[in-house]
Amino acid sequence: MSDASDDYDDDYGPGSDDGFGYESYEGSDYGDDGNDGFDDVKPESMKLKPYEVAYEVLSVGDIQRQQDKLIEQVASILGLSNQNAMSLLLFFKWNNDRLLEQYTEDPEGVLKKAGISIDDNEEFLYELKPVPGFFCDICCEDRKGLLTFALECGHRYCADCYRQYTTQKIVDEGESRNLTCAADCPVVMNDKSIQKIVEPAVYERYKTLLHRTFVLDNEHLIWCPAPNCEYAVKCDDVSAKDLTSVVPTVTCKCNHKFCFGCGLPDHQPSICALVSKWIKKCEDDSETANWISAHTKECPKCRATIEKNGGCNHMTCRKCKYEFCWICIGNWSEHGTSWYNCSRYDEKSGVDARDSQAKSRASLERYLHYYNRYANHEQSAKLDKDIFVRTEKKMTQLQSTSGMSWIEVQYLAQASAALQECRQTLKWTYAFAFYLERNNDTHIFEDNQQDLELAVENLSSLFGKPIQELAEIKVQVMDRTAYCNRRRENLLSDTAKGLAEGRWKYQVQIK
C-alpha cells in the first residue's frame, strides 16, 4: 500500500468541484489483496458535501432492534440477564456509558438503586397464580383462588389490582421508563412483567412510549417532527456541542427536511442558535415588521395598488407599465444588471445616515432590511409553488392536445423544487447575515448570496410565463435550474467550511 494515493486524495478531496471522483485513483492497490480493489471506491456524487452530515432514518422496527441490541450488549458486558440489563438501562435513561461507568465502580450499589435483585439468576417468571391465605392490601379482597402477581421484590397484590395500577400508569400517566412496583418500592417493571400483566393493547401503548423515551433520551436520535410521521433520525456524529460548527440537516423518508439539532424546518446555512435568536426577534418585532411583508404595494409611479402574484421581484405595473423592484421600489431599469445590489444592506450609508436619529431607529431599520428580504423569500416560495400547482394542472389538461407527455413536463417540477429549496436557503442567509460581523469574510458570503439571488430571480421570472411559452423555453428553464442548484451548493459549502473553521464572527454571543 503506497501513501501516494493518500496524498493524491488530499489534493483532490471533497473540496474539489470537478466531480470526477479522483478518489478512485488507487492504482497501486489494485489486485493486491485478491479483492477486486473497488471496495472503498465511491463515486464523488456519493460523498458528503461540506454542508451535509451522515444520518440514518429509522422505522419503529429499527428502533426496537437498536433497543434490543443495546440491551444485549449491556447484558453480555456485565454478565446479567437481558431482563436485568434492560431494567438497568431504563434506570439510566438508556445512557449505557454512564451505566457502565457507575456499575464498574459500585455494582451492588447501582443494582440496589435501580431496584434490581440479582439473587435469582434464573429468569423470573412473573406468574399469575393463587396463593393460599392471600389478602390483597390494595382492594382488601381475600377470595379463595384469587390470582396474584408480584415482581422480584415479592410485594404481592391481586392480579386485577396490579393490572389496573399498571394500566393507569401507562395509559393515564404515560409512564414507561420509570414504572415501579405498586408498593412504595423502587423495583422497576420491565418489559416482560408488563407484558404478563396488562391487556395487549396497553402493552402496545407501553412499547410505543418506550420507543419514544429511547429516542428522546438519546442525544443522537430525534423524531421526525412532521405530523403523523413515525420515523426517527439517527445522527451519530453530531452532539449538542457541535451545533455552533455544523447545521445538521436531514431528510426523513416522509420527505420532510429538517434540522437534526433543533427540529425546525431546514434552516441552512444559519446555525441553530442564531435561528432561535432570529425567530424570537421576529416575534418580538412582528408588529413593526408586519407591514413590510404585506402582499400589496403601491406602484411608485401611478399609485395603483399592485399585488405580488409571483415570486419574482421584477414588477411591472399593469396600469402604467412602469417597471420596478419589489424590494426597494426602485426603478428596475436603473437597477441595471446590478439590481441585486438591493439584497445588500449598505452598512456604511446606514451609519452615515443623514438624519442622525437615535441609534435604536438605525438598528430597527437594519433589522427591517434583513427581515424584509427574509419574509420576501418566504412569501415568494409560496407564490412560486402556487404557480407550479396551477401550471401543473394546465399541463395535465394540455397533455392530450399538445402531445406533451408527463415525463416531458417534469423539468417544471424540478425547477419548482429548486426554487423552493433555494428560497429556503436564501431566507436563512438573511437571518445569518443579520448577525454577522462586517469583515472580508462577510463580503464573500454576501457575494455568494447575491449570486444565488440573481440565479433564483432569473429562474423565477421564467416560471411566471404563460404555459405555451414555457414549453418553448424548456432548455432555458433546465439550464437555470441547474445553475440555481450550483449556486446554492457553492454558498452552502463555503458557509459550512467557514463554520467548521470558526471563520464567522457574530455580533451576538452564542452558546
Binding site: I138, D160, Q168
Partner: protein
C-alpha cells in the same frame, strides 16, 4: 377488586374508627366520596398548640390506584395551618399526594404524613408564592403540577 374499591374504603374506615392513630379522628365519612378527617399536632409545637385542623379527602372510583384529592378546609373555629408548604386555600405541596402516591398508602398513612409534616415545622409562614398560586390555582390541587418543596425545611 369487585364492585370498585368499596371494600377497601370500608375496611379503612373501620380501622380508622376502631384503631385510630393518636391525634387523628374521623369527623365525617357518610359515603365513599368525601371524608373529613381532623388532625392535631401532638407535641407542643408553638405554631399549632391547642389547635385542630381538618383534612378533606375526595376519592375517585379508581382509588386507591389513583391518589385521593387531599386538602385542608377551613370551618368555624378551624383554620388552614401555617406552613411553608401549605397554601392559604388549603392546598398542600406534598409528593405523597401526587407523584409519590402508591396504592398501598391509606387515608391513615397520608394523615400521619401530614401530621408529622406539621410537627416538624418551625416556620410560621406560607409558601413564598402563596398569593400568586392562590389567585390562579385550579379548584382541585390534583390539577397542580407541584414542584415539591425541599422536605428538609
Amino acid at each position: 377488586m369487585i364492585g370498585g374499591f368499596t371494600k377497601r374504603l370500608g375496611r379503612e374506615l373501620n380501622d380508622l374508627k376502631s384503631n385510630p392513630a393518636v391525634g387523628i379522628s374521623v369527623f365525617q365519612a357518610d359515603d365513599f366520596r368525601i371524608w373529613l378527617i381532623d388532625i392535631k399536632v401532638m407535641d407542643d409545637n408553638p405554631i399549632y398548640v391547642g389547635k385542630k385542623f381538618r383534612l378533606q379527602f375526595r376519592f375517585a372510583p379508581t382509588y386507591p390506584i389513583e391518589a385521593p384529592e387531599v386538602q385542608f378546609v377551613a370551618s368555624y373555629g378551624i383554620e388552614i395551618p401555617m406552613h411553608p408548604h401549605i397554601y392559604s386555600n388549603g392546598h398542600i405541596c406534598l409528593d405523597v399526594l401526587g407523584s409519590g402516591w402508591s396504592p398501598v398508602q391509606t387515608v391513615a398513612s397520608v394523615s400521619m404524613s401530614i401530621q408529622s409534616m406539621l410537627a416538624g415545622n418551625d416556620r410560621n409562614e406560607r409558601p413564598p408564592d402563596d398569593a400568586r398560586y392562590v389567585a390562579h390555582a385550579p379548584i382541585s390541587p390534583k390539577n397542580t403540577r407541584f414542584v415539591y418543596h425541599d422536605d428538609s425545611v
